[in-house]
Symmetry: C2
Subunit: 359 residues, 2 copies
């Protein structure tokens, strides 16, 4: 097991990364205010891991309230959020009850947001069971739900007490979702860590084959990169925006196709290739760099072509994106591999040409 | 005009108290990130003050989006909250748009919570137009909505950029609501400020008659007391709980009678007299103190007898109160006038006897 400390002053917390952590009550108990937890999970994860985690906690004398939600991005909404509130109120849970998110990014975002807002804030613990949530959504305190008019429009910045990334849970993850998680892993290399990108080029086959040592290193290094960025910029006023490489294009894809049709990581991969094309047109990225990016995404089992939506539809979809500042769309673009910037200083014709590729 | 600075580190903000502040664009402009605001108000306040505030801002070049909600505590819920989100999204409001709450406590709580959660947090300004919201809910960052199973169960701690308490708006406030606000003013004297309580005994007639100097002083001194408590304990782990004097009993009354049947301040006044009776039974408060309390509440036009709900119903209603710790109800009790404590160390028989008074 490896441990990473996310430094956020009084909101600092540890991330433990290793195998079979669901059996480790000793890691969880020190973070509970009282011996009562509500475990929020979904109908896919519950049959796999809920009993194991519950038994671990109950054997340590902790009362467990299970809250099982329907599975899917389409349920990341206020109706599902209310199911959590209702269960907490029915059990008369107090401010000393800890919420545990057991599942992927949707469960983490919903549970974190419920924790941020129930009684104006109760403690919570993240136990991410997908690669994507282990390397991305469980680090940094973003929580929230979707709105019919846009993804993640309602939410809060709220930090967990603890994150347990159990690599063993990845053995039950569909291959397509593993690939989607690798999109975010690759992203860290692209935006700020060339040596990690090179390591990923050398070890992608091991990651896809679920080699535990490779996974632990990739997760640790990803969390380390994200934690460094988040510690500098908790509320997303500056550098943190770099983590959105490929996301402005990617959200447009997810939004247009309907949440959950393209997986988030798939949309990010294709979106990152669009951003790379725009970077190339600005003279900041070489054809050779683009070829390396394409190759690593393909090796990870990810799409590199965005769907044909039409230039106007893309622009319209991106107009609602919350990363817009004063009416001008800002993009995360690359200056070579391992270096990136947030800018609205790009050529509009170049953007049109990039979008035409996907049109 | 008097100004009070609420000290909360990087979340510090000023409260300006005076007459005709709705005309003062100069007080608002320095706090805007861009010249766009959404003014959230209700159908009662809009005809009185929305045009005046809008004109003040528009004359200074600020674009105004009005959001007019139905009036009443029964609308402090997720459906009404969604009306705010919908309007913000339809206008494509960004993180640089400032929300302005123009109204009483319900508008302040709803708007503050919308600001806390829209795009994970946008700036907001409080312009409270009732005495209660000027002395209580606009100071301290509590925001939120009610849930069918309990009041203020969903919410966030979120500080405004600025509070403008315009005394002129109190001239359109119904007398019953002015009295309800005075209940919280009196509370500050009771829990921690004997000289203020004595000042209130001497000046209650002026306050009820809307004397501006008396109101400005009472509002300033109330905000000062609350700001001192909040600055020491932003997230309600300790001293801040003293502000809930009368509230555990009061919430039970509000909850049982239906939100809005008893005004919040009325329920707090009657609840404070129940708490005083329990304090007396514990030997902490004299008959003479109780008589002074009764007299000042009556002078302020407030009820001093709680409704007859029955002992069991009171206990049941208080069991869901979020101030419960580990299953034991804690009360704010007094040790004389001007001194209070939070305790679960009271005699159960005394509590039964107190509740039997209202049964």
């Amino acid at each position: 097991m490896q441990t990473l400390q996310v430094e956020l002053g009084e909101r600092a917390y540890p991330i433990h990364i290793g195998s079979h952590l669901l059996a480790r009550a000793d890691l969880i108990l020190p973070h509970l205010k009282r011996k009562q937890v509500a475990i929020v999970t979904n109908t896919t994860v519950a049959p796999l891991y809920l009993e194991q985690l519950s038994q671990t906690l109950q054997a340590a004398g902790v009362a467990v309230i299970p809250i099982i939600l329907p599975d899917g991005e389409q349920y990341k909404n206020s109706d599902t959020l209310n199911l959590i509130y209702d269960a907490l109120l029915q059990h008369r849970c107090e401010r000393s009850t800890t919420l545990i998110a057991l599942g992927g990014g949707v469960i983490g975002d919903l549970t974190g947001y419920a924790a941020a807002t129930y009684l104006r804030g109760v403690p919570f613990i993240q136990i991410p069971t997908t690669l994507l949530s282990q390397v991305d959504s469980s680090v940094g305190g973003k929580t929230g739900i979707n709105h019919p008019l846009g993804k993640n429009m309602i939410g809060a910045f709220y930090q967990p007490q603890l994150v347990l990334a159990d690599i063993a849970t990845l053995h039950t993850l569909p291959a397509r979702e593993l690939s989607a998680g690798l999109a975010e892993v690759i992203k860290y290399g692209l935006i700020r860590d060339l040596p990690f990108f090179e390591w990923l080029e050398a070890h992608m086959a091991e990651l896809v084959a679920l080699d535990e040592d490779a996974l632990r290193y990739a997760i640790y290094r990803s969390c380390e990169n994200k934690a460094e960025v988040v510690a500098k910029d908790e509320r997303e006023s500056g550098e943190r925006a770099l983590l959105n490489l490929g996301h402005t294009f990617g959200h447009a894809v997810e939004n247009a196709m309907g949440y959950g049709v393209w997986l988030h990581g798939e949309a990010v991969a294709a979106g990152t290739m669009l951003a790379a094309d725009l970077s190339r047109r600005m003279g900041w990225l070489s054809d050779a760099d683009i070829a390396r990016m394409r190759a690593i995404f393909v090796a990870a089992g990810l799409p590199v072509e965005a769907p044909a939506l039409g230039v106007e539809r893309y622009l319209d979809l991106m107009g609602l994106d919350k990363k817009v500042v004063d009416g001008k769309i800002r993009f995360v673009l690359q200056q070579g591999i391992g270096k990136s910037l947030v800018t609205s200083d790009y050529d509009k014709a170049a953007l049109q040409a990039t979008l035409a590729l996907a049109a």
